[in-house]
């Protein structure tokens, strides 16, 4: 068991190394990953400023813009990782080694998080400097805890998406697309979900990103402490084992189905 975990961590480190080192050899990522997302955040911030919205709304938008980067990384960086690995022939080579698939996905997640964090920090920095967004430093510990819990839950969800890509390849894109816009809408990217009817609020609260974003906003903008955010922490802590278990089962099941149906090595599908 211990050697299996050690192997998983080594694989994750190696894959993250490839992702970070390889990714940064193409400097154009700065444009796609940082400058373009900044424009989206800026346009919403300007809209609120022109409408004369309270200053907190700018901070709201900045946190939303920063957090949504992680969701995109989960879907497109981690979720379809196995699709790209398969298309490039790397999955076949990977699958003949004793390395666990979870290690590969964890590595993709960690590697992707590096660039995503730069993107998120740029958004926060520009938001603070250019749009005068202000944050409450006393909320940092609570925000950090909620951020970590949200990431674990999100990346477990990413593993579920990855297993769909493993089995259905290109068709898995539809599943990922279904998870993109509706989640942007439901998570309250640029607005508080309290504007939704109760039923939709309940539905939105089943998404870890919604809870995480709300918790971080409350801590950094309104100064809530950990006790005030206990329901956020509990909700995320319950979601994590459920999603992690589901991810592991889905991955094993899809791997087995792919081996039965011969899809593991099938490309261009």
């Amino acid at each position: 068991m211990r050697s299996r975990i050690t192997l998983l961590l080594k694989v994750a480190y190696a894959r993250a190394y490839v992702r970070i080192k390889g990714g940064n050899r193409e400097p154009s990522w700065v444009v796609w990953e940082i400058l373009l997302p900044l424009l989206a955040v800026a346009s919403v911030a300007y809209t609120y400023m022109i409408l004369g919205a309270p200053r907190e709304y700018i901070g709201f938008v900045v946190i939303g813009g920063a957090m949504i980067s992680y969701w995109f990384n989960v879907i497109w960086g981690m979720g379809n990782a196995l699709y790209w690995e398969k298309e490039t022939g790397n999955l076949e080579t990977f699958m003949i080694t004793p390395a666990p698939l979870e290690g590969l996905l964890l590595g993709m997640a960690l590697g992707g998080m590096f660039n995503t964090t730069l993107r998120a920090l740029s958004i926060v920095l520009v938001g603070t400097m250019a749009f005068k967004a202000s944050f409450n430093p006393s909320g940092l510990p609570a925000a950090f805890l909620i951020f970590v819990l949200t990431m674990v839950a999100l990346y477990s969800l990413g593993m579920c998406i990855a297993s769909i890509f493993l089995m259905y390849s290109r068709s898995g894109w539809r599943a990922a697309e279904v998870l993109q816009e509706p989640i942007m809408f439901l998570s309250g990217l640029y607005y508080p979900i309290s504007i939704f009817p109760t039923l939709i609020q309940l539905l939105a609260s089943s998404i870890p990103l919604t809870i995480g974003m709300d918790g971080i906003r409350r801590s950094l903008l309104l100064g809530y402490n950990l006790y005030d955010l206990r329901f956020h922490v509990i909700s995320l802590s319950v979601m994590i084992p459920v999603l992690a278990y589901l991810a592991k089962r889905m991955l094993r099941y899809m791997e087995l189905r792919a081996k039965v149906e011969g899809r593991l090595t099938l490309r261009w599908m």
Binding site: K21, E26, E92, I96, T97, P98, K259, G262, T265
Partner: protein
């Protein structure tokens, strides 16, 4: 663990569902036993089932029925143990990350086998030296030539020092010099570690004959012959192999001879530069050869030459399957 064979398959079959639920047999009741230290060749045309067999043995695909063992481990129930002792190298493969260098890619693969970071880099240096890759070790993978890529692939295949190495068409598309080098390396690998087994698939007859201790010929998913190159050639020792040259380009001449009732073992090849069609036929007697010539002349063909030749593995294949590998 005591085991008798490096690879053993028992009634191994694999089907695929195609359009409208039609079943295609990629492998049908395959029984092979490969001994330790052997270079075992699997010879067959494209689509014969060679790669399917390797994929099952490499735990990438599940069999529909039957059993398969690698070093005594069940490829279905003990996949992880199998993966620790095998590796696979395919001709024309491009696994790895194009934006990373050869060295970096090899190091990445060392980590998949759990080597420590330091041991990983040491292994990379050893492999670069073994395969003479010093000149391009720091070049990105997406900038390598086909020959360099195949050396890199072989290095990757040796990263875990596999006890069973599957080589799937390892010289496919390579120029003569690189192909020669790879064949030399294959022999060296066995010489250095007599416990190692190499399972080689190829559709180059000469390569199989030169390298393999034993060869299985696979056709439409079935093993149709198995033995050493000499044993296989003895299968046609009672027959005669003739080579004929006919003036003109006749792509269907082989088929016409079969239709005319002569040997089923006929292959033909036309060469537009010389304007000749060459035939290779496995015949039962000199009289039958005379009849073939008579038939050709009577049908309006101009026979340039006829000669009796030494049987080769190509002729064994011709007799068993009824065509050349490249015609299949």
């Amino acid at each position: 663990m005591a085991f008798m064979y490096s690879i053993e398959t028992i009634e191994l079959s694999r089907t695929f569902k195609r359009n409208k639920g039609r079943l295609i047999y990629a492998l049908r009741d395959v029984n092979i036993k490969v001994r330790k230290g052997e270079i075992f060749g699997l010879l067959g045309p494209n689509g014969a089932g060679k790669t399917t067999l390797i994929r099952i043995l490499a735990t990438l695909l599940l069999p529909t029925s039957g059993k398969a063992y690698v070093l005594g481990y069940d490829v279905v129930g003990e996949a992880n143990k199998v993966r620790e002792v095998i590796n696979v190298v395919s001709g024309g493969e491009r696994s790895g990350y194009g934006i990373m260098t050869v060295k970096e890619n090899l190091w990445y693969f060392t980590q998949l086998y759990g080597l420590s970071r330091r041991d990983g880099w040491r292994k990379v240096r050893e492999l670069i030296e073994l395969l003479g890759m010093e000149d391009f070790a720091d070049i990105r993978l997406n900038r390598l030539s086909t020959g360099m890529i195949q050396k890199y692939n072989l290095a990757r295949g040796l990263i875990n020092d596999p006890k069973v190495l599957f080589l799937d068409e390892p010289t496919l598309g390579l120029d003569v010099e690189v192909a020669k080098y790879i064949r030399r390396l294959i022999r060296k690998l066995i010489k250095e570690d007599p416990e190692r087994t190499i399972f080689l698939t190829t559709h180059y007859m000469a390569e199989a004959e030169e390298l393999c201790d034993r060869i299985a010929i696979i056709h439409k998913g079935r093993i149709v012959a198995l033995g050493s190159p000499e044993q296989l050639k003895k299968m046609i020792c009672d027959e005669l192999v003739y080579k004929l040259e006919v003036k003109g380009i006749y792509s269907k001449l082989g088929e016409r001879l079969k239709e005319a009732g002569f040997s089923k073992a006929v292959s033909s090849k036309s060469d537009i530069t010389t304007g000749l069609t060459s035939l290779r036929m496995v015949l039962s007697s000199e009289e039958e050869a005379e009849e073939v010539v008579k038939w050709l002349i009577g049908s309006g063909y101009k026979v340039i030459s006829i000669s009796k030749v030494e049987p080769s593995l190509e002729d064994v294949f011709l007799k068993l399957v009824g065509g050349k590998l490249s015609e299949e």
